[in-house]
Amino acid sequence: MTGTFHSGGSAPRTEKTAGERGGPPARPTGGRGRPFARGGGAGGREIHHLGLVAALVLLSAVGLVTEPGNFATSGNVVGILALAATIGVITVGQTFVIIGGGIDLSVGSVMALASVWATTVATQSYGPAVMALCAVLVGTGAGVVTGLLISYGRLVPFIATLAMLVAARGLAQRMSDRRTQLVRPENDAIEALSTTKLLGLPLVVYIFAAVAAAGWLLLNRTTFGRRTFAVGGNPEAARLAGIDVRRHTLTLYALSGFCCGVAALIIMARTTTGSSTHGDLYELDAIAAVIIGGTLLTGGRGTIAGSILGVLVFTLITNLFILNGLQTSDQLIAKGAIIVIAVLLQRRGLRSPT
């Protein structure tokens, strides 16, 4: 991807605005040649979402049959949403990165780092507002660093974020001395995000909803969103269309880092701790959710709603397994199977219309 930054010379110049409007730019040689498509295009997106909704309905039906007195209670639904919040927020950022043609493997570690940084004693003595700000700034900062490595350092996203995955975890361990850092009782405003309820839902669920809504708006209703599809679909064409691809890529990783910072705040609220062990393997959960949500791993196409549905499917599976007293190992098998099925269905959905 980064290789296409330098002008190939063979591609004809296109007017600046053509690309942004979604008009078909001249196909550059060697590019992936997909026009700037938004979402799944031609109804494919809706069909895919319906498939996920059907999966949710099916899983809910299993829940209703196996745990009739328990599954459909408001308490359980709230519980599922609160559990989905952490990974959900991360997944929103991840969706942007993947649509933009990249991948972010560092999300779990960056979340851990942000939680540890925010709970260091020095920060705790300044109170919850400073802690919250700290979590978000550290997350964004880590995202900016990865973004710089990718866009200006010309590292492949896989490598740059892999480096961040390892390094951020190490830094988190070093800062916390590998200990679990409790949020001090006097900073209970952090925990209140989990305990305070508004219309029956804890505040962390509203944070999740707000991030998801903001993500949807940003992706579907702004120039920034259109450019994200453009950059992911065909970076060379995007560049020719006048988009500053490097700066845009940098912003996408910063956005993902920001989401990790928000997720760190949620995990701090839920567990009342910051720890270098937080977010272990979250990168895989987030990427899996994005993929079963219908976003192409090669970039250029995807939706926030799909990713959120993907997260809910996973959370629902965990919930169902625990309600029925089944073990973690079986859950993992089920998750693996769901990823494969979703991608197989997605491929068929892609092939048939064209």
Binding site: E67, G69, N70, G75, N76, G79, A82, L83, Q173, D177, R178, R179, T180, L182, E191, S194, T195, P202, I267, R270, T271, T272, T273, S275, S276, T277, H278, G279, D280, T318, N319, I322, L323, G325, Q327, T328, S329
Partner: protein, 354 residues
């Protein structure tokens, strides 16, 4: 060869380990403010009998898993603290790691360095068995700490906690209390550590066996990963799964921080909870009272300090003061005690910070 004959004298009996232990408890009880001292057991050193007098110079090699967990962190601190008490001991720790492959090469490097005795807490007893055997064959006695090697030729002495006994202690506390209330068919929930480890299976077996003597069974069990975050997630789901719980046993106080946060956020108070390992955090919670956490069963990290002491004695060819034997015994299993409101002050100094 021996500098001091390890004759079992009356003085030895009088001033042996029991005195040491009692002394340490007394000292610890009166010095609750001595927060900086990492290991209360280390305070005992100066009170000992003959054995603590300087003897032959020995080098003790030490290898343990990475300290990303309060208990393991306390193990490393206890070992180091104890080794520093002796002028005749050179302490040679290798970099802690969770990678079995790395731990094997670390132990191999200690064998090559020809240390006088090895103290090893393996990540997995089965998988490190061969390298421990290699050390023994090379004439280096191995003190096996906690996770046991399957092959008795692989270690000179084993020191560790009683995992089965932890389950039994927790089972008795819960069984007795529920029986006292006249509960029939109570809902008893168990949150395990890493389900694949033999130590977890032993704990669960002890728990089930003890409950059986009261006519009770475990209603549901789920495994977490010894981390705060997984403890939180599993507890949230289990609370959903069971509308009414009578008692809950959580195997590990570190993951217990997350479990307690989940319980607090759910607002549930109808049951009581027993923890495991004995962290300072859990003990403070028990002392304060009013919450669901009523007790914890010990699995003291001071065993590392004991292992260093024993390793030194083995290398110096001495026996243990309170035993009439000329040499250190082959195996020592610590007792798992129940800490609750009435005795929490006694045990508080043994609590480790998570």
């Amino acid at each position: 060869m021996r500098d001091q004959s390890p004759r079992p004298t009356r003085r030895g009996v009088l001033f042996g380990g029991a005195v040491v232990a009692a002394g340490s408890l007394a000292a610890a009880c009166t010095s609750n403010s001595a927060k900086d001292d990492p290991s209360p057991a280390a305070q005992a050193g100066s009170l000992g009998g003959d054995n603590d007098k300087p003897g032959k110079q020995v080098t003790i090699g030490f290898s343990a898993p990475a300290a990303d967990h309060g208990w393991i962190a306390a193990i490393a601190k206890n070992a180091e603290g104890q080794a520093k008490k002796y002028k005749d001991v050179t302490f040679k720790p290798v970099e802690p790691t969770n990678d079995i492959n790395q731990q094997i090469s670390a132990v191999e490097s200690l064998i090559r360095a020809k240390v006088d005795v090895l103290v090893i807490l393996p990540n997995d007893g089965e998988q490190l068995n061969q390298v421990a055997r290699k050390a023994m064959d090379a004439g280096i006695p191995v003190v096996n700490l906690d996770r046991v090697f399957p092959d008795k030729l692989s270690y000179r002495t084993w020191v560790g906690g009683d995992n089965y006994g932890m389950g039994v202690s927790a089972g008795h506390y819960i069984g007795k209390k529920l029986k006292g209330k006249g509960a029939s068919n109570p809902v008893i929930v168990e949150i395990q550590g890493i389900a694949t480890l033999p130590l977890t299976q032993d704990r669960s077996k002890g728990f089930a066996d003890a409950l059986k003597s009261y006519g009770y069974t475990v209603t549901a069990k789920q495994d977490a990963k010894f981390t705060v975050e997984s403890g939180n997630q599993v507890a949230s789901n289990l609370l959903q799964a069971h509308k009414k719980i009578d008692a809950l046993w959580n195997h590990d106080d570190d993951q217990g921080v997350g479990v307690l946060a989940a319980i607090k956020q759910s607002g549930r108070k109808e049951f009581f909870m027993v923890g495991g390992a004995g962290s300072a955090n859990a003990m403070r919670e028990i002392k304060t009272g009013g919450g669901v956490l009523e007790a914890t069963v010990t699995y003291p990290p001071t065993m590392a300090a004991s292992a260093i002491k024993l390793g030194r004695l083995i290398a110096q060819g001495k026996g243990m003061a309170d035993l009439v034997e000329l040499q250190v015994p082959q195996s020592i299993t610590l007792a798992s005690e129940t800490v609750f409101k009435d005795n929490v002050d006694t045990y508080m100094p043994l609590g480790f910070e998570s």
